[in-house]
């Protein structure tokens, strides 16, 4: 039995610290750059342009029709998939080195190790919300607006929980197994192409050498989140209850995993670094 000298570590109790870490990340990210905040839009726009060019023009990938019935436009459809993916990608890759970066601090003063990670994810979320606004503007420009947009917060909540939990889990495990950062980079690349972002789920053969390929791809949680957002924002349709349940289940599962990993390895970060 041991009792520590630490105050109760609930996320709520440390909200002020988490927000401070988020502000710190936001402030230092584009410090000293000429374009400043504009950079947070340059990277996704460049990605959008590249993929639009390669897949939309070279490969003649086509987008499904807008929710309003108008013919679809590939870059807009792609953007609706890239924004949530980018949130996941950047949140995971930037938070993984966060604990190491705060090592000196964690060894000198106590604060729960989840605080800097949650702060980092929150900073990314702020950027992502700007990207979502951009998406909304573009969609509105095409006249593709619907009441289903009002359900966006309901979609965002489980997604943020899911992304944050994955980021926290990987960050903590990374302290003990440094290979994980490299492994994650490889896995993320693979996952990007295994998620229907630049292609529609329907292009995947239902069966491939006896494997139910399409169903397997669909199983991946990111396919669920990206698909649901496209339904809401682009198709202007409400996802069925099974999909909502799926989104919440992934979020809950990831949160439970993060909780146990944190309890198992996240409490002694100060010595492990």
């Amino acid at each position: 039995m041991n009792a520590t000298a630490r105050p109760r570590a609930s996320i709520w109790a440390y909200r002020s610290l988490i927000w401070n870490f988020a502000q710190r990340d936001l402030k230092s990210r584009f410090k000293g750059t000429a374009l400043g905040w504009a950079w947070s839009l340059v990277a996704p726009l460049a990605m959008l342009l590249t993929y639009s060019l390669v897949f939309g023009v070279f490969f003649h990938s086509s987008a499904p029709a807008f929710g309003t019935g108008r013919p679809g436009f590939f870059p807009v459809w792609l953007l609706a998939g890239l924004v949530p993916w980018n949130f996941f990608l950047i949140a995971v890759t930037t938070s993984m080195p966060t604990l190491l970066g705060n090592g000196a601090m964690l060894q000198k003063v106590y604060f729960p190790s989840f605080a800097p990670i949650l702060g980092a994810v929150m900073a990314i979320l702020v950027q992502t919300l700007i990207e979502f606004s951009l998406l909304a503007i573009v969609l509105a420009g095409f006249g593709n607006v619907g009441w289903t947009w009002l359900l966006f917060p309901l979609w965002l909540a489980p997604f943020v929980v899911f992304v944050t939990s994955i980021a926290l889990t990987l960050s903590i495990l990374n302290i003990h197994l440094r290979d994980l950062a490299h492994l994650t980079n490889v896995a993320l690349q693979l996952l990007f192409f295994l998620t229907p972002i630049i292609y529609q789920l329907s292009v995947i053969p239902t069966s491939w050498h006896g494997l139910p390929m399409q169903a397997l791809v669909r199983l991946n949680p990111m396919a669920g989140y990206v698909g649901a957002l496209r339904q809401l924002a682009y198709d202007l349709q409400v996802p069925g209850p099974a999909i909502w349940l799926e989104l919440v289940a992934w979020a809950a599962g990831a949160a439970v995993l993060a909780f146990f990993v944190y309890r198992w390895r996240g409490l002694d970060i100060g010595e492990a670094i």
Binding site: M1, N2, A3, T4, A5, R6, P7, A13, Y14, S16, L17, W19, N20, F21, Q23, R24, K27, S28, K31, A104, M105, L106, Q107, K108, V109, Y110, F111, H176, L177, R178, D179, L183, L267, D268, G270, E271
Partner: protein, 423 residues
């Protein structure tokens, strides 16, 4: 009923010492389960309480577990076993400016640090002026801390730690930095905090700090509590132990090297001081001399040949660097010594030094020629008892009752005029 700020019961902390700490996947696959490494108990079964509003000192040699204890109390480490209860908000000053982020301005760092200590934005705003004022770094407060000088870093760090009104302040020897003026400011502030009822836990090597500031102290030795009690008692016991060990070390060294190695000494070396011994009023060797009491300082020497015309000198330097006294035997003319070992005594009726640790240098000279010079090689610990006056030395003198009048009668008229003219 006594209120406790800290209650620790059977506190232990174990570390695993690995050769290679960062474990890669390859290692895990190739070697199977990780070798656990050698275990090391930094703290073993320590039970102690710290009363609310008192100052608690932690002493011990390097590696005795002081800092580990502090880190466990501050919550940075979890104890391997045992229990610790800390009542109140803890602010730990383990390393100044450790919680700073280079790209943020001083002000933004204050906010971040306040949040780490669990303060709300409003509470930090309320303390902002006080911190700015205490740090005294002017407009640098709005510039990124990466351009700060190390002094400014220290000032801001200390200002933050003490201004955010912690219930318990933990300090790890960090105050020994910064300029003298700032150091004084820090100590004044610590005294002030103590007066206001803040519980302070202090890790230090300065025994005078233990005596001056702490109510109780804990002496740690290889992770275990050696002694726990009133600060002065524990400090003296620790000092006695250190001196004994030092003495032992000197004896061992002497056994191996008949004369102190010339490399660390100046002078031609025909005769050298081998050791200093401090004797109390009863002529017993003691590690600590009592301020104002009779004592003898015995300088042991070894001469490799008979030498004529020598003068012994000894210099006392205060912790602050001031040379307090530098008596020598030259007043009595010069002496001669035979080959072999011997000693010279400096007999003092009333030791005029105030409680502190003095660095002692010795010299053996002959009008410009230096035989031996041991620069700050010895330490003299002076302890006080009863009322202590501030200052470096005890001014001998007797106070008389106040007397009415100008007292001018005793001053010759001409001189008095002169004094007036100058005023």
């Amino acid at each position: 009923m006594t209120e406790y700020a800290v209650r620790a019961e059977g506190l232990s902390k174990r570390f695993w010492l690995h050769g290679e700490r960062h474990t890669s996947l390859k290692q895990r696959v190739v070697r199977g389960k990780l070798p656990k490494g050698r275990e090391f108990w930094a703290l073993r079964d320590a039970s102690f309480d710290i009363e609310r509003g008192t100052t608690f000192g932690l002493i011990g040699q390097n590696g005795s577990g002081k800092s580990t204890t502090l880190k466990v109390l501050a919550g940075i480490y979890r104890p391997t076993s045992g229990k610790v209860v800390v009542a109140g908000r803890v602010s730990a000053l383990l390393e100044l400016g450790a919680g700073f982020h280079g790209d943020l301005t001083g002000r933004q760092n204050i906010r971040l640090n306040g949040a780490i200590l669990g303060l709300s934005g409003r509470q930090v705003s309320a303390a902002m002026d006080k911190i700015e004022d205490f740090a005294g770094i002017g407009e640098f407060i709005d510039l990124p801390v990466k351009i700060y000088s190390s002094g400014m870093f220290v000032r801001l760090g200390f200002a933050i730690a003490v201004s955010l009104d912690p219930d318990i302040l933990m300090v790890d020897e960090v105050i020994a930095v910064g300029d003298v003026e700032f150091q004084r400011k820090c100590f004044d502030h610590l005294f002030d905090l103590r007066k206001r009822g803040t519980t302070i836990v202090l890790v230090t090597h300065s025994l005078s700090l233990i005596r001056d500031m702490c109510d109780r102290a804990m002496w740690l030795d290889h992770g275990r509590i050696r002694q726990l009690g009133p600060a002065a008692e524990v400090g003296d016991a620790y000092l006695a132990d250190v001196n004994e060990r030092e003495m032992h070390a000197i004896h061992v060294a002497e056994g191996q090297l008949p004369a102190p190695s010339a490399s660390t000494r100046l002078g031609s070396g025909e005769v050298r001081i081998t050791s200093l011994e401090f004797l109390d009023a009863d002529s017993r060797a003691t590690p600590v001399l009592l301020a104002g009491a009779p004592c003898t300082i015995r300088m042991h020497y070894i001469a490799h040949e008979p030498i004529r015309h020598i003068i012994f000198g000894i210099r006392f330097m205060h912790e602050s660097g001031a040379i307090v006294a530098e008596p020598n035997s030259g007043r009595l003319g010069t002496w001669s010594v035979e080959a072999g070992e011997g000693y010279v005594d400096l007999v003092i009726d009333e030791l005029p030094l105030q409680p502190a640790t003095y660095q002692v240098s010795t010299t053996i000279v002959d009008r410009g020629h230096i035989f031996d010079s041991a620069d700050r090689e010895f330490d003299l610990h002076v302890r006080g008892h009863g009322y202590q006056e501030p200052g470096l030395t005890r001014m001998p003198g007797v106070w008389r009752e106040p007397v009415a009048g100008t007292g001018a009668a005793t001053v010759p008229g001409a001189i008095q005029e002169d004094v007036r003219a100058k005023q």
